[in-house]
């Protein structure tokens, strides 16, 4: 396409033609796994690894379906928001409050959700994410959909997309990893605490499969720890990861033992307490 003696013109013309052709392409290509032929391809040119994490909403929704009930005083108090002065604390607690908001939304606690939204707005301004929630009219949308769990989860998904856009456009991918770490720790905290109260087998299964997320989270935090500011967090996450030993070797569905759940509860609670400052 780009072979031409009049190189600049050729590129411009080719690009224009490409653009023009692209406008009419509406067909999609849906392929399921069964239709793909298994083959081995060696790729030597791949030189970096990026991480994509699930939304806190998805994890909260999975936990809710497994029986995560609502216990009001488990979440981080909105009164703590002014205590977070370092950028790292602000990002981690942005994640913590995001998970709390998702937990409230999943349990139809609309007023609590709105309170967390206001807290997130306040924190987002501190970490320069000033426009993330400004234009979305989220409070009004939450109020208009009180009691409609399905609509509320779609609103939360919109918020996640808005945040992903913002982080991407402002090249804040590292911040995204720290925010996700906070959200993941809080969701795990809610899971282990509800399980401690109620002993829920399905919830233990859901907690067990979080090993897959933790591995990626540790990889991402390592990648963003150039100045060693995340070393403490990394050490704590690696310590938590030890409870999931055997996850990768397990042919069948991996499940945490009673002892591992107990120890996970202790370590997650200690880390979460360190972050929220209670």
């Amino acid at each position: 396409m780009y072979k031409s003696t009049i190189k600049i013109a050729a590129v411009l013309i080719a690009s224009s033609l490409l653009y023009a052709c692209g406008g009419n392409q509406e067909e999609e290509n849906i392929i399921t796994q069964e239709e793909v032929v298994t083959e081995e391809i060696t790729i030597e040119e791949t030189n970096e690894l990026e991480y994509v994490f699930p939304s806190p909403l998805q994890i909260a929704e999975l936990f809710k379906r497994a029986g995560l009930t609502y216990i009001g005083d488990l979440t981080n108090s909105i009164d703590n928001v002014d205590n977070y002065n370092s950028k790292q604390d602000q990002k981690l607690n942005y994640g913590i409050y995001s998970a709390d908001m998702a937990y409230c939304i999943m349990n139809n606690q609309t007023q609590e959700s709105i309170n967390y939204l206001s807290t997130l707005k306040k924190l987002s301004e501190k970490i320069w994410m000033t426009d993330v929630m400004g234009a979305m009219g989220l409070s009004q949308r939450l109020e208009a959909n009180v009691g409609n769990e399905d609509s509320l989860t779609y609103i939360m998904a919109d918020l996640q997309m808005q945040m992903d856009d913002y982080l991407d456009e402002n090249e804040m991918g590292a911040a995204g990893s720290i925010i996700f770490a906070g959200a993941w720790i809080e969701t795990m905290y809610l899971g282990v605490k509800v399980n401690e109260n109620e002993g829920n087998e399905k919830l233990i299964n859901r907690l067990s499969e979080q090993a897959i997320i933790l591995e990626s989270l540790i990889g991402s935090i390592k990648q963003n720890n150039n100045d060693n500011q995340l070393s403490d967090l990394l050490t704590d996450l690696e310590s938590i990861n030890k409870h999931f030993t055997g996850f990768n070797d397990s042919e069948e569905q991996f499940r945490l033992s009673a002892e591992a759940i107990h120890n996970l509860n202790n370590d997650i609670t200690a880390l979460r307490t360190k972050i929220v400052g209670e």
């Binding site: 023009a20 069964e34 856009d165």
Partner: protein
């Protein structure tokens, strides 16, 4: 008359430049919105990733690690409309440096005229998405691939 011809040439170049910039510019929100339509009504937005490339005269690649829960349904979408070159998208079950990794999905830009691609994995755990771009003669042109994922909890 000569000057008129020069103006005409300049206007033509400017018009073509605008088209090229528009092509290489990565309007991520517009590209994402095109993918969002493909999630509805069954899947909810979960996460996304933008990979920006500057084309080089040598082959280049990036790998993205995507952890998912094997018991749930996911829809992975790719938009290559802002990528002014050939490409390959490959999805594996293991990292690029691990042996015996299984190819779950692949698409080559040179073999299709589409720019939206959809893949729904089944019983997968962590997936590894590889973008491979061949080397080009004209270096320095930018572009991007937008990846977006939705989930459906059964």
């Amino acid at each position: 008359m000569k000057r008129l011809g020069l103006y005409f040439t300049l206007i033509a170049i400017l018009a073509l430049s605008s088209a090229a910039i528009e092509k290489s510019d990565c309007d991520t929100r517009a590209l994402k919105n095109e993918l969002i339509k493909e999630l509805r009504p069954d899947f909810k937005y979960d996460s996304s990733n933008i990979n920006r490339f500057i084309l080089e005269n040598k082959k280049q690649g990036t790998e993205i690690q995507v952890p998912i829960f094997s018991s749930e349904k996911y829809r992975l979408l790719f938009n290559t409309a802002a990528l002014p070159s050939d490409f390959e998208i490959l999805i594996y079950d293991k990292k690029h440096d691990e042996r015996n990794r299984k190819l779950l999905f692949s698409v080559k830009g040179s073999e299709t005229d589409q720019h939206v691609f959809i893949f729904e994995p089944e019983n997968a755990k962590t997936m590894y998405i590889d973008y491979i771009l061949p080397g080009v003669e004209e270096e320095g042109i930018s572009g991007c691939i937008v990846f977006l994922m939705g989930y459906k909890i059964s």
